[in-house]
Symmetry: C2
Subunit: 326 residues, 2 copies
DNA sequence: CTGTTAGCGCGTTCAA
DNA sequence: TTGAACGCGCTAACAG
């Protein structure tokens, strides 16, 4: 910056102003400075800028997994939208480990970002402390519940589970099952499983079978199907915690000669691209993935532009996408 | 920090040392300072630390897309490995737009990170300038070619395309096609397409049909199949630039009553989880996804620990995974 | 091993 | 509209 100032024949302060708040500098100086700094390939040091300015154009976002297409989609969307406003995303990933989340939140907070976005509502006490003592807007996304720490934008996973149960119950199904990936770690999947169980029991008086899959990938769907059929052979409908598991089960059903939906009804969750293309096409529950990303960005930007904007707590709801597997 | 120093009865420098280089402080002071800073909930300001220390525990990684499972996988792996060494990933995503890449690289460089990792070998002149004038190790990953800017870790996509062509040619196929997603933007897919075309022509004297898909998703695989069959009805083998497209084509083939591999042979690329589970199981080419992530991390850490470590240019190769669709 | 001191590169007052 | 000066919070020399 010193060099730019020297070449342009102005002071450091003027260079800073020309680049940061151009309207506060006379047009001729401004263009000269801009020209010089371009010619010299000057790139301001953001570290110094942030230290002096006490604000960082950084937004911390923490998700459980980058390979989960929901979070990847939300992140891709948020990256693009925030980038357009000059903010940079710091992305963290904790693999459904709340202790790791704690460390990541602490690390992010120490960059004092403009906003912090975390996934879900289950955090350690320390995470909560760090989050609430950081002087920026905090959004808990992908989950809806009472009293978020600051703002909450998501939907009720429990309600999504209930929706599935109600749908099965209305079809007169008695023997149902829910297959969920890593239910011990993924609170959202667990909430869906619990909602399903509770509502199905309530409506039909039958206890559904709950089976845990070891991951959310296709192959596990096939083995989970075998386990379900082993434990409860008369099962006539299965809800899955993810479309990939459901599709894996469809492939397996095909292999063992089970027809869908005749012999077995299958309900997915996620409405991934694949759900529209299987044979038969997969009936599934669609979470508001895009709406979440957009709402988070919109809300954060509002808070940043008008700091007195109040927090929100939004339930964006889910939708049943009726296709051919039920 | 001042408060911690006061309460612990030491100077600022000692607090800094106790937290940064504990071995340089006497055990009793160290424990006292650690205890006080924990009690006070002191979190060092990384911005200030980086400005003073002239090093940032930040590694910039730029990929074309977060929703592409390859990059997501590599990122997930790199996040975990780097985090264990105290580095934080800054993740950028440019959507196959080199101008956007240019802006992201510039933004990242201005945080002066410990290392910069970009995807591929095609960059704008400005990107190249920024990259080479940044004082940190630079890795171009996922692509292999001559003379990387600094280090290169990947494989030859052209060779992957040739492998597919050779495989088809050996089966005595005359009418083949290559379906690639957004070939106009994705240089790696284009390199595979070109390698395929060149080698197939060379070995069989037949020009293969090259078809561009609009995205890399399943639905497009189905429509691409229809287009291929429309333009070249006798096609007996198709290579795809991604497994998802291939699976979409398999679903569509099923719908129109084409048997695989009898009527049509299908070759994927990626060896995603789904490839092991379709009926029939998908024959595919596996890029060294995990090896890339590991090699990048290992190399960067070496360079960071021993700055005189030389650059590398690694070709990690691909592998044909023989299953049932060819 | 510990304290004192001098910046790191910039944004932002305050005067001019 | 511009320039001089200060300080953001910390680390790294240096001296003790």
């Amino acid at each position: 910056m010193e060099e730019v100032a020297k070449v342009a024949g102005v002071s450091l302060a003027t260079v800073s102003r020309a680049l940061r708040t151009p309207e506060a500098v006379s047009p001729k100086l401004r263009t000269r400075i801009e020209e010089v700094s371009r010619r010299l390939g000057y790139a301001p040091n953001r570290i110094a800028g942030s230290l002096a300015g006490a604000r960082t154009p950084l937004i911390g976002v923490i998700v459980p997994s980058l390979t989960n297409s929901f979070f990847a989609g939300t992140l891709e969307q948020m990256t693009t939208l925030f980038e357009a406003k000059g903010y940079q995303l710091m992305i963290g990933q904790h693999g459904y480990d709340t202790d790791r989340e704690e460390r990541i939140v602490a690390a992010f907070a120490s960059w004092n970002p403009s906003a912090l976005v975390v996934t879900g509502r289950a955090h350690t006490r320390n995470t909560l402390n760090t989050l609430s003592s950081s002087a920026c807007p905090v959004v808990e996304m992908w989950d809806h519940g009472e009293r978020p720490l600051d703002s909450g934008i998501g939907f009720s996973n429990r309600a999504a589970g209930k929706l599935a149960a109600r749908f099965f119950a209305e079809q007169g199904i008695a023997k149902a099952a829910f297959v969920g990936a890593i239910l011990d770690k993924d609170d959202r999947a667990r909430a869906r499983a619990e909602g399903f169980r509770q509502e199905f029991l309530h409506l039909t008086r039958f206890e559904p079978l709950i089976v845990t899959a070891n991951n959310r990938e296709l192959g596990e769907g096939g083995s989970a199907l075998k386990r379900v059929l082993g434990q409860q052979p008369e099962t006539s409908a299965i809800a899955f915690s993810g479309d990939m598991l459901a599709v894996g089960a469809m492939f397996e059903a095909d292999r063992i000669g089970l027809s869908i939906p005749g012999d077995l009804k299958i309900l997915g969750y996620g409405d991934l691209d694949i759900a529209r293309n299987t044979n038969p096409r997969l009936t599934t529950i669609r979470p508001p993935h895009n709406a979440i990303g957009e709402a988070v960005v919109r809300h954060v930007l509002e808070r940043l532009e008008a700091p007195d904007t109040p927090s929100v707590n939004l339930d964006l709801g889910v939708k049943l996408i009726l296709r051919e597997t039920v």
